[in-house]
Amino acid sequence: MDDLTVSSPSPLRRLSVPTSGVAWLAVPCLIALPFVGISEYAIGIFTLGLFFAVYAMGWDLLFGYAGEPNFGATFLIGVGAYSAAMLNSNGIAPPWICILAGAAMSVAAGVLLALPALRLRGPYFGLVTLVAVLILRQLIILFSHQTGGEIGIAVPEVLALSPIANYEIALGCAIVSAGVFIIVARSPFGLILQAIGQDPLNAQAMGFSSVKYKLAAFCYSALFSGLAGALMTFYMGTASLNIFVDAAVGVQIIIAAIIGGRRTIIGPAIGGVFLIVLGEYMRPFGRLSELVVAVVALLVLLFLPNGLLGLVKLKRRAH
């Protein structure tokens, strides 16, 4: 692989090495967070934020590296969540088996979606993934006897009751996902992926099968999206359409990734947590909170197109 030269020194490398160094330092702090006296309520917010972080990172691997805008993140998440919930609510399997099965189902569904979708480029790929979410919704409503329909399905068992334990589970999921995503992104595989994303013709001329690489990226994304979806189902106690299979949630994930800084993995994770915390911070404003969150997101989009992490990058350059 030595002879492979990616045109122009990858901006990713410059950015992610020091940034992710800081991020790894942050890991022990994050693990210790619940023990420094923050309220259980705050822990609850971070728990949800961490699941969201995993979704946003999964999206970033596909968009930031493979160049494919996935508008159907909730298709992958939803398959994971509903598979786990349906297995558990029928008493077929204990939680951990359900979660692994959910992640596996998500990968399978991801392959099923990606094989036809990857024949298309750019906006058409986005459209197919969006339609996939709509179809999954229709199917869940059509088979409401098994799936609970539009009001959702209750999961009888829990992984853990204590907020701290739930937080650590979500954190574990986020750290493992972040680790795998970063390793994948920085490996030769990630560089080829990026080359394909930026200049598919050249990359193919060099003999790299773009479908094969993108399919693999899709599988990584699906695996962790499904895993987080299944874990979150057990945390929430229910799986329902508006939490897990909703185009609007998919868009929120994209917004989180862009706010955090696309093409950085860690940026989207920060964006995911940020969006959840901001929404919760604005809750006392009641009706206006959604409006304010949308305005803030729009401002970041227009004035910080490289996201919050891009801001850090600018500062570092200035020094």
């Binding site: 409401s144 539009e150 009888p156 106690g237």
Partner: protein, 408 residues
């Protein structure tokens, strides 16, 4: 000189006020969270009902001298938002109970959280049977969850009983088409009515399931008319006002009876620009029907305070706050377990009827008992801009009229 003296007096008074309020040990307030999407009419109805009950109770001296402090949580109509808001209510604001939630999806999502965080939670908007079933299956862990609005199956019973009176006896109808939306809550609703309607003398000639995102009802109404029924029995909520508006535009010559969640609200006339004229729906209570001695005074106070009439959810939430007051007074504490146990034993006459909850062995645990002597609900018909109560007989304020478009 005079003004200086006055100022001094004012300062003195203010000081005195500060001192006396610091001296008199005000007992801690009872904190109750109310949750819904307040931008929606249903959510506003929930909030208003809670506000009115709180104001009344506080004006009358509170709960054993403790004032109620109402804290609002906007769930934005999303279950994940609701779960966060519920944690905020219990962990951060330390509420003693939560009332509200309109969407069944959210009520089902919050039910396990009420059990995990051990806080009494009274559902006052969502009608899916699954809530009561969840409590029954997970009793006693889920014993903190109650509901002061009728579940879908009780609504079906109310629809059937009222149709027996109004449609069969008064209007002489013999056949019906059942038109319900394709949603989880209509499963038990349909099943019940398919058994019950033929028994009371109304043959079902056709059953039409309608997707909740349907925009064009023309084919549906034409199909229904082709079956030549004497009435359409509806079960709609999520669809919104489309069936009513198009029923009016197309001048379908059949009455729509049954349950229409939107038509129970007083703003429905304005939202449909009057298209709802003639529509009949079952609802918890209406403003002019003396179901209990509390019904009409509540409805009048509500109208005066909020300049709109009370919806079913307003009745349910108003009663829920009083149920909590009653339970806290009987148990003598605001601790979750004694309050939940007291709620279970409640026998309280509220604005919507006599409220007694079903026990762990009844079909829907902690749902209200339905029927004569308990909560029955009412039927209203929209007549020229007004909701007229036409059922039950003891609460009726008018008579049903047949379809505005019926061929003469």
């Amino acid at each position: 000189m005079k003004s200086a003296k006055l100022k001094l007096a004012a300062v003195g008074l203010a000081l005195g006020g500060v001192l006396s309020s610091a001296n008199a040990q005000t007992p801690p307030s009872v904190r109750i969270g109310v949750m819904a999407k307040f931008a929606q009419i249903n959510g506003a109805a929930i909030l208003n009902g809670a506000t009115l009950a709180t104001e009344e109770i506080n004006a009358a001296g509170g709960i054993k001298g403790r004032k109620i402090e109402l804290i609002t949580y906007d769930d934005q109509g999303s279950a994940s938002d609701a779960v966060l808001a519920f944690q905020r209510a219990v962990k951060q604001d330390k509420v003693h109970a939560v009332v509200g939630t309109f969407l069944s999806e959210i009520a089902i999502a919050l039910t396990p959280w009420a059990a995990r965080l051990k806080v009494p939670y009274i559902v006052t908007g969502a009608g899916a049977d699954q809530v009561g079933l969840l409590v029954k299956q997970n009793y006693p862990a889920y014993k903190y969850v109650f509901r002061s609005i009728l579940p879908a199956s009780s609504t079906a019973r109310g629809v059937c009983e009222s149709i027996a009176d109004v449609a069969v006896k008064q209007l002489g109808y013999t056949s019906a088409v059942l038109m319900t939306e394709d949603a989880a809550w209509t499963k038990s609703y349909d099943e019940f009515l398919k058994n019950c309607l033929p028994l009371v003398g109304l043959k079902i000639v056709e059953t039409v399931k309608v997707a909740t995102d349907t925009s064009d009802f023309t084919p549906i109404f034409q199909k229904i008319e082709a079956a030549k029924p004497s009435v359409i029995v509806t079960g709609v909520g999520i669809i919104g006002n489309k069936p009513v508006v198009q029923w009016h535009n197309q001048q379908v010559p059949l009455l729509m009876m049954g349950y229409n969640a939107q038509a129970g609200a007083s703003a429905f006339w304005k939202e449909t620009s009057g298209a709802t004229n003639g529509v009949v729906t079952f609802t918890a209570a209406s403003e002019d029907s003396p179901l209990t001695p509390k019904t009409v005074p509540f409805a009048k106070a509500y109208l005066a305070r909020f300049n709109t009439t009370a919806a079913a959810h307003s009745f349910a939430t108003y009663d829920a706050i009083y149920l909590l007051k009653d339970a806290i007074e009987r148990s003598g504490t605001t601790d979750a377990d004694p309050v939940a146990d007291a709620l279970e034993k409640a026998d309280y006459v509220g604005a919507s009827g006599r409220i007694v909850f079903q026990g762990p062995d009844d079909p829907l645990t902690h749902d209200m008992k339905y029927g004569n002597g308990f909560v029955t609900g009412v039927n209203i018909q929209w007549q020229e801009g007004k909701q007229v109560t036409i059922w039950p007989q003891n609460a009726a304020t008018g008579k049903v009229v047949s379809s505005p478009f019926a061929s003469k």
